[in-house]
Amino acid sequence: MSSAYDATRADEPITDAERRQLHEVWAQPRGWRRFSEINNSVIGFYYLVTALGFLFAGGILALLIRLQLAVPDNTLLSPETYNQVFTMHGTTMMFLFAVPAVEAVAVYLLPQMLGARDLPFPRLSAFGYWCYLFGGILAFSSLFFGIAPDGGWFMYAPLTTSAYSPGINADVWLLGIGFIEISAITAAIEIIVGVLRTRAPGMSLNRIPLFGWYMLVTATMILFGFPPMLLGDALLELQRALDLPFFDANRGGDPLLWQHLFWMFGHPEVYIIFLPAAGIVSMILPTFAQRPFVGYHWAVLGAIGVGFLSFALWVHHMFATGLPHISLSFFSAASMLVVIPNAIQFFCWIATLWLGKPLFKLPMLYLVGFFSVFLIGGLTGVMVAVLPFDWQAHDTYFIVAHLHYVLIGGMVFPLLAGIVYWLPASTGRMMDERLGKIAFWLLFSGFNLAFLPMHWTGLIGMPRRIYTYGADMGWSGLNMASTIGALVLAAGFALFAYAVVHAARRGRQAPDNPWNAGTLEWVEGIPLRKHGFTSVPIIRSRYPAWEQPELAAEVREGRHHLAHARNARRETIVTTAVDARPDYVLALPHPTWIPMITAILVTVCFVSLTFKATSVALVAAVLIIPMLYLWVWRTPAPVGEVVDAGRGLTLPAFVSGPRSVLYSGVTVSLIFDAIAFGALVFSYLYLFTVRGLPWPPAGYPLDDLATAGIPALLALALLAVGMLALRLLRQDRRGLTGMAVAVALALQAGAFAALLAWMRPISATADAYGATVWTLAGYAMAHLAVSAIMAVYVLIALAAGRLSAGRPLALENTERVNRFSALLMLITLALISLFPRIIGHG
């Protein structure tokens, strides 16, 4: 199905009835049903409010830490409570505030910046949000019951293994954070596919607003960065719950494996937080410099450069762990290299200001805070990239100062600038200039008073995470200064929050484009609408509000695309990834409870696992399956073959294969999955390099190739049958397709049983080798189970007549997951059976 164009119908305005229907279709339900809304502009708002709530909660914990350290020999908190408080402060700020906050801004603003009615998977965003809310509340409330995590926000093994942390505190962290990370991943999928496929027609790659580019890089980083940590989480929890000794040096494991997996996530995480903030800066600066951004190409280069270089830095958090000097040297080099793309971005910002005519309005004040604070954090970052200095400063308050200058300077100040800047777009009202300025100066002075002295306390030897210190250490004055600064900083945040609420309720009415900004979100006037634009605009420049003066009126009059909701459906235009040519019209789901109910079931599952109520967790897990079936079943089916997209353009109502956004979503999910599997393979090979030959270690005989051959043959058969099923459906032979899918199901069951039989002689608890091999096989088996669940859905859909040669998408995606599972099996078998033979198992 392809698009068609009728030039005679290219200039029809929207009628009043169409305008009314558009508003009704996109209106948020009232009463309790408002929480069934899934529109990203609503979910983004919920996300942001929740994230700011956690910022407030994490801030209170920070004040408790500072009050405890204000004077020497203080006993305000018990040592146990102090451990929980500093762990939860870091955890809350990193996992419950920083990442969700940047994702919140993205899902809230991206549809408006990109010119989409909504991003492509609103139910996924809603599911991610509810997981985040429930998981966040549960993880945080553990503090009130004395079962909060207490091993530091990076939860190093062996401290956090059950031998040294016997309570459930560490489990709360491992399961809670693993659960919350689901929301990060769902948002990443939404953002990647959204930025690539739901841009306004004409918004080719070179016209994407810079925030879109930065979010695309960030979401890709989430895709690559989060799997290692999720895997580390799973391995540590497996060790705690089932005694699989991945991190137990006495049984062939290695505690440093945890640090590798954690920091493979942890370092990119810093940039996952910083890059969106840099995107916000890059959106605000041109507005107040009154000129287009200088060096758009360079800024994109800088963002991509930071994105990939940040994955080569993880060991710089492990400089003091005794790694080979040769390894340290190239991680040190990479740590310094990351300065280049960061500096490029800084120079672009300076050049934009230099060549513009800067207006010093309130958002700019917060950007000045960003520039000065982040610059200091960046420079101390270069200092700690130098090995000898890092060995001195490691685990001292110098590092605490550095990371707060980076994170608060690099993320919080731009976020606050963004809130001030887009507040009129969200509420239609302006922030009070005087309140905003006072709040800024409290924040800026309080921040520097709190954290600047920490550089000195660190350099004179005060270690991180200590509960208290003696009066004779000489740290008292500096600590008191830091505590006073923290109180001033808290006052600044409180005043800022008041200024936002005040503006939303009683602020001065804002004009349509109060800052005279050039980007798309300001084009049709404020406050922003839930459906974005009256008609989806055609874009010819990076700053359409400046360079397409006729656009506002045309869009408002509905003279561009999709100025209607004719089938009483929510729809958006999907465009091609590179040139943003209209491709097809995507029907979007209406408000539904399915994401929230699924999130509740996932919550029950994780909480039950935390409290070792395995049977309850199992019931919840089983109940999730019909919810997922319902989710897919309720995906809006196209009405007719084509949709009138307005302006004379007719577009397909449905596509399959790589053109479909659902196909792209599954591709992104499989990449995530492949990275997680890659991290598991890394763990296996890492343990091998630590142990050396013989491999498998003593006590684990090498399997015979014939036994490994059975699951390998089944995997190959699965590949063949899966492809056959798809071919049959494309020929519209539905009966035979059903039979092929049924055979695939039988093969999946057979492969599962064969893997299990192959693994049975291997002990999972005697040695880390056995634990890793079991986990690899378990990973493949879990995928076989997922493939089987999807195959059952395909059979149901075939029986109901919902799959055909023209609508093969469900089978296409099932087949891809099936292929992926078979591939995982083959790699696992090769790794366990062939790898030892290749290296000469000794």
Binding site: S3, S204, Y296, A312, P324, A333
Partner: protein, 135 residues
């Protein structure tokens, strides 16, 4: 209001593949090279190959230099040709000239950035002569 030509039927597009490849290849080369150098060093130090020498240079360093040469060759083969700057006034919003210039320029700059990064990583590890420390 200007009209614009109808969008092309969206068959798989050679431009799409080329754009994605040019932007993704340099970072991928860097990460694969970095991972390979790290993995090679881990193996060589872990399995004791680091002590073996060839022409006075250790096997570890020879491996790193070879990996770097391959990475640079692959990297520069991904470099797209330069594209002329598009005219400032465009009629057709789907005219690819501006986008082609953007992709070509950004990709070519990325190749330079990755070249600097790859060489710097390789050089520092060549100058560090020891497997001292743990793993």
């Amino acid at each position: 209001m200007d009209d614009y030509p109808p969008p092309r039927p969206t068959a798989p597009d050679r431009d799409t593949r080329a754009s994605a490849w040019h932007l993704a290849a340099p970072p991928a080369v860097f990460l694969v090279h970095f991972g390979a150098v790290y993995g090679w060093t881990g193996l060589a130090c872990g399995l004791g190959w680091a002590a073996q020498r060839w022409g006075g240079v250790t096997v570890v360093h020879i491996g790193i230099l070879l990996l770097t040469a391959v990475a640079l060759a692959v990297l520069w083969s991904t470099r797209p040709p330069a594209e002329p700057e598009a005219p400032s006034e465009i009629e057709n919003p789907y005219d690819p000239a501006e986008r082609r210039h953007f992709i070509a320029t950004t990709s070519r700059m990325l190749v330079w950035l990755v070249t600097v990064a790859t060489v710097m990583v390789a050089l520092t590890s060549v100058f560090a002569r020891s497997c001292a420390g743990g793993l």
